[in-house]
Symmetry: C2
Subunit: 427 residues, 2 copies
């Protein structure tokens, strides 16, 4: 028989990784619930039609096929399009609708280091409100999540698509040139300022480029906004964007972690659909993992996706990127293994049952007959302690607790069982 | 724009259902961890070849298609075949390998009431040991799970495929007739004893049928096993099966919940691959949901699936069936909604942040301007309490706590914030 293989670009999550992953998701979930977000799940398969025309060039990455009934179906490509379908299908849901979703998505991308064809997205979105409170809440929640994960060295860059667009207008950069300018600025982190300026010079004259960069690099937000306000006196959309951005920043100023975020108008994010605030977070002590959290306001996407008028703001957590850091920092849970002496199977089963009922997580080493092999098994599992329970121990009402690091063995009374469990947990 | 639709046989899990679902999974997970099982996840897509020849006639239900690279790929049909692939691909995993997996599977079945094309399986399996301790542990764990879910009215029927097969042999029922006899007995719950006997009469003579039923209905297990032991003196496999079953039952006898299980050799379960103990659980107060938990020992399946010698025992939880009962019994979490007065946005944001940092789950009603509409929103969410925080309250350092049931409003001091959170949680 040929050895079965994984498909390229796909992966198994083995227990140690999966444990850390579930712990991470659980902690994020707890924060999201505190912020009033509720879980949603949607199918892996959708009508292919729903996904078509939504992802531009990347549409070719959609896994699409005909099902048994001849319908064109597709594996979901993200969680935003299914969210739009749910919102339009369930008008009864109270608005704003605040949901989070942890879900696998599939993209037939070329597999390369760190890029997979199947990966998890973990999104939180508020649909149906354009209040700056919703935006500020999203940033505060990201900070609360990173804090809950004990990731103290993070930084959030915040910008505003509307303000940015107004800034370009104030420099008389035409709306048709704006997407190209944005795309170039988006590359700044990768290719550096010099290259970006050289590329920009094909579109803009030197004076405009110089003014653009001096505005982008303003390190005092109030001065920048005042300057933009002055330049955009007759631009209503621009004034509204500035007012909206000011409202959000004003709220964020109450957060105790002011050092964890700053305004950076040169941060533009790739996606076209943002209309208001945008933000992205990275780890300052792990710059190599890149952006771990990002999102923004998208007030027309729901209309484009599903014909429903619903201003929205959202954020997406990079679970895989975060796991590269978080997984490594999490120690595996300590494991206790109960060995089984021949003839003591029933008594060992009973002891195991009692320990588990008292709340202890326990493995029974029933795979091997010999004690030596059982201890090897405990070792392979990374157990911190092994329990030895033979006839002599049963008679004395004790177990031998073996420290798997040192090999030291200590007697411990079985009764009261809760004391034994406490001792095993502490050691 | 046409209203986007769900595919037939698929479903969305809206927040209330999803909340209950996550709570259920979390509780089961906690028990599985206590029993030393660890989480595993595998991809949704596998090489189609891996799934072929594994499911008999049902193979036609597999979602299969060609991917972008022209590979034949398929959506996983169950979690057992991927488990076999993982076990054979990772010989370094200590054996017995104990894993649980919560995973979606896909089957292109005809959709009908309660049958979906996408559903969750929640399996726990011990691979690499044939110890009766592994079997007894599995039954004990099922009982611990049902107890953890506060489902007190459950009953587990236990049988043994080896003993059953020996029983048929003791009646000189040929091995070629045995699968047909099993299939008929498996229908007993659905079609009744009379119909089964009528069908059996096409295969067996009346005396054999009568003897078969008298053995199956033995209500004293010891007598039955002694009787089988006597009949099978020269049948080595039969003797081994009886000894194995006795060992397992002997262990189970230490469990405090003896009334929750009994031996029923007429319970045969559909799947061919079982080789030892089999079990299935139902709810006595909800017989309509059918089997909610089932499994057994399968010592040759891993060899058949992946060419690896690994005796195994497992159990599968019927999440959807359980949710039909469990979901209904779970009250939604109480919700607290903070209303927002015009001009108080920043202060409201600050109060919300402080309450959340102190551990309260909270929604802010920023979707609406008018208080009446905000209270309607709180009502639609099923909130138990709304907080009113206007300028007058800010000055006095209080919030008004409105009971959403009665409309009563009480003042409550904001400081210390932990007292406010405690009060809001208790009410």
């Amino acid at each position: 028989m040929e050895k079965p293989r994984l498909l390229q670009g796909f992966r198994d999550y083995l227990p140690d990784v999966m444990q850390a992953r579930l712990r991470l998701l659980e902690k994020v979930r707890a924060v999201y619930e505190r912020y009033g977000f509720e879980p949603l799940d949607t199918p892996a398969l959708e009508y292919a039609e729903l996904l078509k025309g939504k992802y531009g060039e990347d549409e070719k990455l959609i896994y699409e096929f005909k099902d048994h009934g001849g319908r064109d179906v597709a594996l979901r490509y993200d969680l935003t399009v299914p969210l739009a379908r749910v919102v339009v299908s369930h008008p009864e849901l109270p608005k704003p609708f605040k949901r989070y979703q942890m879900g696998t998505v599939w993209r037939a991308d070329s597999p390369q280091a760190g890029r997979f064809r199947e990966f998890m997205q973990f999104d939180a979105d508020t649909v149906g409100s354009n209040s700056p409170l919703a935006d500020a809440e999203m940033v505060a929640m990201m900070m609360a999540v990173l804090q809950a994960l004990s990731l103290d060295h993070y930084h959030i860059r915040i910008s505003h698509r509307g303000v940015f667009s107004a800034l370009l207008q104030s420099l008389s950069i035409s709306t048709s040139d704006q997407p190209a300018v944005m795309r170039l600025l988006d590359k700044m982190d990768k290719v550096g300022e010099k290259t970006v300026k050289a590329e920009l010079s094909k579109l803009l004259n030197a004076k405009v480029i110089s003014e653009l960069f001096s505005l982008l690099k303003h390190d005092d937000t109030d001065t920048l906004l005042a300057e933009l306000h002055r330049r955009l006196t007759h631009n209503e959309a621009g004034q509204k964007a500035i007012a909206n951005f000011s409202d959000i920043i004003n709220m964020l100023s109450i957060l105790p972690d002011a050092a964890h975020w700053h305004i950076d108008l040169s941060m533009v994010r790739g996606l076209q659909y943002y209309t208001g605030i945008i933000y992205e977070a990275g780890l300052t002590d792990h710059p190599e993992v890149g952006t771990i959290y990002a999102g923004g306001r998208y007030d027309s996407l729901m209309r484009d996706l599903a014909g429903v008028e619903a201003p929205a703001v959202g954020t997406s957590l990079g679970v895989d990127r975060l796991m590269a850091v978080y997984g490594a920092e999490q120690a595996a849970a300590p494991r206790v293994v109960l060995t089984v002496f021949s003839g003591m199977e029933k008594q060992s089963f009973e002891l195991a049952e009692r320990l588990r009922q008292a709340g202890l997580s326990l493995r029974v080493a029933y795979g091997q007959t010999k004690l030596g092999k059982q201890l090897q098994y405990a070792d392979a599992l990374g157990a911190s302690q092994a329990l030895l329970y033979g006839e002599a121990e049963e008679e004395k009402g004790i177990v031998l607790v073996r420290d798997m690091q040192t090999g030291d063995q200590k007697e411990h009374h079985i009764e009261p069982i809760t004391d034994l469990v406490t001792a095993l947990r502490r050691e």
